[in-house]
Symmetry: C2
């Protein structure tokens, strides 16, 4: 396999920063999200560390546990997310810079929302999960609809 | 202070589920997000536990660390999020059911994205953070723009 490590220098980090700036511009001006596949580039671990240090750390971290764990952490630049997908064995299988207002994986798909909506109304009765008996009290007012307190 | 605990019964959980279903319908049909302020309702801890059990657990958890920690966990119903805000001392100051495709807090504000974009291009040079010297190699090809590998 070709050794690409000679590419791992300052210039590459600078190029990535320039590329991220371009994706941010497109996001701001055209509302179009974009991403950079970091594992598809000849980046050494120290190059990735330098990029990570340049981008810094934001306030938000997202975890998704499905087939393996995905983590999406906000960088110090809002709209720039560092996304890592691991397989069930914990091996990192993808590493991306995502440039988007919202990381794609956090968005609930409309079809899933609709399916959930359809099964929700029966949820308390369907499988016998009821409010613990010890706290049920047959006082007047019990079961009052809290609609007026809802935002 | 009035004791509202007598309201904490089965009927209230059922009412909340009905209310969540209504918010989901509005989300699906009108693209409008909504929320329920759980701390503004007379819910006992066991009532909250019963609601939490009814809604189940999804795959996504979001943490935001700013002035205190906020956690947003997806329930078993996509688009229904259980959100908790704590203050710096760790006290829970807000607890909400959010019904939205994306929890509001995860969305990067456009103004913040723009400000980040403006300071990004100088990030590697501005504060002297450079690629570690030990890994910089002055080989031909170093600094090649990785544009062709970008998605």
């Amino acid at each position: 396999m070709t050794d690409f490590s000679f590419l791992a220098d300052d210039g590459l980090v600078d190029s990535l920063i320039t590329e991220i700036a371009g994706l941010l511009r497109r996001l701001i001006e055209q509302d179009e999200a974009g991403s950079i596949d970091l594992l598809g580039l000849p980046l050494s671990p120290s190059c990735l560390a330098a990029l990570s240090e340049c981008l810094g750390q934001g306030e938000i971290a997202v975890q998704l546990d499905a087939a393996g764990r995905s983590t999406i952490r906000e960088t110090g630049f809002p709209g720039v997310w560092w996304t890592t997908h691991a397989d069930k064995a914990g091996r990192i299988v993808a590493m991306l810079i995502e440039v988007a207002f919202v990381p794609d994986i956090v968005r609930a798909p409309r079809d899933d929302v609709t399916r959930g909506f359809q099964r929700l109304p029966n949820v308390t009765r369907a499988d016998g999960r009821r409010f613990p008996a010890t706290t049920v009290r047959s006082r007047p007012g019990a079961g009052t609809r809290p609609g007026s307190r809802l935002q």
